[in-house]
């Protein structure tokens, strides 16, 4: 039996959260059972993905190919757990477990009613399953379906808070994201028309031979993909929905939205751009320069906009826009170092931004204060929460020994390797700006006199989740070992063997 489970781990990574999500509504009112089941699924998921990652590493980067229904590649749907898949599965599982633990403690204060909370978990698990699917599917149409599942779950999560602004943000997000999915579907359509394949490997092989016959169609397809995924991943000029959506959502939702969901779309875009279109074709269309340029603009503008926000969660949301810029910049450098940096930044930003949002959420639910200027003295009343916030800030700024540094180091290596000194300067300037918008929070929290209000630390589960994430930040920064190996191997896959 265990052998059967192990052999089918790739598909379980996708369907287990989905099916648990579908069963949850039947016992929606038994909150403890729901929470227990969610945490159990996430914990098992983490174990399974760790096992998969070990398998992939042990195979020396050879992907585990899973043929659903026993149908092989061009006809059936493939799940490919390669370096990239294992990497992102690990990130998804690693971040969603602490967030689920946190949610089980904090959600009661943010979402009213047991049924609504159960539906929150349904959407949470659906998002997790969709992200897992996105990371390992090798089929373009599956990408579309999973992207849609993720988008709808994200919108649901955004609107989970009862405030009307939540519904508005969710609607705006939904409209733009659906526009994006339409674009993605159109891009898939163009690729299918040109290549006749939906399987990424086959499409890539066909595209390499036929793209010269249909350069305009391919160009259209690529631009559709860029805009479509760009909207969903909040890539710079298309980020307008993100600050509203990510700041009004309940804090666990903000954490996964900023930490994971956005990255899922980026992973899909990476797959399409590097596995299907290929780096050579990207250079033909000057896509790499566009990515670097827009990435730099995103870093600067996102950070500067974040500086101007007084609402803590909005500030973090704008920071996400900037950090997404880093990932795109690293992608656009088109060398292994830069790509590794971008991939590692996906992991480290995922974990750091989750920690930041969860800490901010804990502060907001415990004190009722949403603005940075009102948070004087929080650090003294809630040392663990603000301690984690501090660690995460140091990580995001990119202090050595914290996870953010590793990604930025590789991106710097990449940009200097590509001879792009401006990009290197922007990467560093982004760090300084990042300190500019995060450290005032810490200063206000620790070094301003505390009011007499009786603020307390959040519950045990929230603290546990925060501490887990902080440890994650530290571990990723000091012994990133397998994750960095996977990122490096995935980057090599992207750029060398294509």
């Amino acid at each position: 039996m265990t052998a059967a489970i192990r052999a089918n781990l790739p598909v379980f990574a996708v369907i287990a959260p989905l099916f648990v999500a579908f069963v949850l509504p039947t016992f929606a009112r038994r909150t403890r059972l729901v929470e227990g089941l969610v945490i159990f699924v996430q914990a098992v998921g983490l174990w399974g993905t760790a096992y998969l990652a070990r398998l992939v590493l042990a195979q020396g980067g050879l992907p585990i190919i899973y043929e659903v229904g026993g149908w092989s590649a061009p006809w059936g749907i493939e799940l490919v757990v390669g370096n990239l898949g294992a990497f992102f599965l690990l990130v998804v599982a690693g971040v969603s477990l602490p967030v689920a633990i946190y949610a089980s403690g904090n959600l009661a204060k943010e979402v009213e009613g047991a049924r609504r909370r159960a539906w929150f978990y349904v959407l949470y698990l659906l998002l997790g399953g969709a992200l897992a699917g996105m990371s390992i599917t090798n089929d373009l149409f599956n990408v579309f379906v999973l992207v849609e599942v993720a988008t709808l779950s994200c919108c649901g999560l955004v609107s989970a808070s009862q405030e009307p602004s939540g519904a508005e943000a969710a609607f705006n997000y939904l409209i733009l994201a659906t526009l994006g999915s339409g674009m993605i579907l159109g891009g898939i359509g163009f690729l299918y028309i040109v290549t006749g394949h939906l399987n990424m490997g086959f499409a890539a092989r066909a595209l390499a031979t036929v793209w010269q016959d249909y350069p305009h169609v391919v160009w259209m397809a690529i631009s559709f993909f860029m805009v479509g995924f760009g909207v969903k991943a909040a890539f710079f000029p298309l980020h307008i929905w993100l600050p509203d959506a990510h700041s009004v959502a309940p804090s666990p939702a903000s954490a996964v939205l900023s930490g994971l969901a956005v990255k899922g779309y980026i992973i899909c875009l990476m797959k399409v751009l590097f596995h299907v279109v290929g780096p050579e074709l990207m250079q033909v269309f000057s896509l790499n320069r566009l990515l670097v340029l827009l990435g730099m603009v995103a870093i600067l503008i996102g950070s500067i906009l974040a500086l101007g926000q007084d609402e803590l969660k909005r500030r973090l949301a704008f920071s996400t826009v900037a950090q997404i810029g880093y990932i795109f910049l690293g992608m656009g450098l088109l060398n292994v170092k830069g790509m590794t940096g971008a991939l590692f930044h996906i992991a480290s930003h995922g974990i750091i931004k989750s920690a930041l949002f969860l800490a901010a959420g804990a502060v907001i639910t415990q004190t009722g204060k949403e603005r940075v200027s009102e948070l004087a003295g929080v650090g003294k009343k809630m040392p663990i929460t603000m301690g984690v916030f501090t660690i995460a800030s140091l990580g995001l700024v990119g202090i050595p020994l914290f996870s953010g540094f590793v990604g930025k180091w590789y991106m710097l290596l990449g940009s200097l390797g590509a001879g792009d000194y401006l990009a290197a300067a922007v990467i560093v300037a982004g760090s300084v700006l990042c300190a500019g918008y995060l450290f005032p929070v810490i200063r206000v929290a620790y070094f301003e006199p505390a009011p007499a209000d009786d603020w307390q630390e959040p519950g045990v589960r929230q603290r546990l989740a925060l501490i887990l994430l902080a440890m994650g930040i530290f571990v990723l920064g000091t012994i990133p070992g397998p994750l960095l190996e996977l990122a490096l191997a995935a980057a090599t896959d992207f750029l060398v063997f294509n």
């Binding site: 700024v397 202090i399 540094f405 760090s431 450290f439 200063r443 070094f447 000091t478």
Partner: protein, 483 residues
Amino acid sequence: MTDIILALLSGLVGGIVIALLPQASNRLRNTLVLLFSVAGAVFSWRVAGTVFSGGTIRLSGEIAGLAWSLQPDPLGTVFGLIVATLWLFATVYSFGYMADEPRQRTYYAFLLIAFSVALGVAFSGSLLSLYLFYELLTFATYPLVIHERNDEAIRAGVKYIAYSLCGAGAILIAIVVTHGWAGSLDFAGGPLLARGGLRPGLGWLLGLYVAGFGVKAAIMPLHRWLPEAMIAPTPISALLHAVAVVYSGVYGILRVVYSVFGHELMAQMNFSRALPWVAGFTILAGVIIATQQDVLKRRLAYHTISQLSYILLGAFTLHPWGLAGAIFHMISYSTLKITLFFGAGIVAKQTTKIRVSDMGGVGWQLPWTMASFGVASLGMIGMLPLNTFWSKYYLMRGSVAGGKWPFALVLIISGFINALCFLPTVVAAFTGDRDQLSREKGGNVTLMVAPTVLLAGIAVLLGLWPGLVWPGVEAVVNSFFIR
């Protein structure tokens, strides 16, 4: 091996312990702070003993796929010793100065942590660990800078952290480039870039490094944060803004010049010929601005800017004598400057006078303090029985021997301006009207005066017997020039 870990940990652990103590328990806290500082100092001295007796201590490991190492060489050890020794004095002085100040727990906790981090800067054996500790030093000292917590302090803090982070960013880029060119960042194997020889872009790289470390070394025009940061309590100004923090910048530049580029490579580069001029300009401009300041601490701050460039000038001569002078000046200047600051602090605390123009007659009230202040002022001019005479001597000798005689002239002129800068204050302090002065006692005078007088005594002692520290200076020079 264990010494270095214990030296680094004593401050860190101490800081955490202090932070966990209740706010009220002053006596226990002071005892513990002293204990941990002494421990840190003792272990640093033990490390120094090992290094100067020819042993090597190396602690290296791979973190996040990059090689990090702690390996104090003579230069690092000298810096570490300066930090460890002066920290003890500053700690004792703090007990006196801070006795009636609020927020003591935060103050001492971060004082100890900053101690650890400064030692880390000194003992790091690779550019990466140097960068890490350099960056951490900013964060560890930030709470000390904004200790007053008023608007001015917070503005100074923002400026401090912004300047430092920008500098650190420049250093990070430079480190990445160095990593790409040299393949390694470890100091142990000689100058990193020497093997590659001259190559295009080397000047830019040096510029990045100098700009990055120059922020903390307060090279003009990157000095703006330093006078502002004088809002901090006096022991902090003395320790951090006259010694530890700015020295970390100076130390970084010394490292870059001698461990990253190497003096041979530097000598071949066009850009390195411009650097002494920057330092010379900063020397003169800093001290001239200092004479214009009326607030004593600001005057001292600009004077710091000037004096730091003495060290840099010595380093940029690329001559053994110049380096010897630089190292000697690191040692002698720090003892004198900390004395000056301590003196200013005692005056401010005891008479609430912070302006030079008000200080007439203070000397009669605080004879020991002002005597030490006078001794230190003489030292800043470079008078003979004081240690700075020797450092200036070697600096000039190095400038002339390195073919850069105009800088010897700069040093002499600067000495005269220094005289204008401090002597009138001292003279006024002992000649002014002594009767109309009110004295409101703040702090514990004994604990403040004792370290001040002791440091002045040390300065005189080193002036009389420079041989006391000469072996250390010689070891540093030999480690870079004789290979």
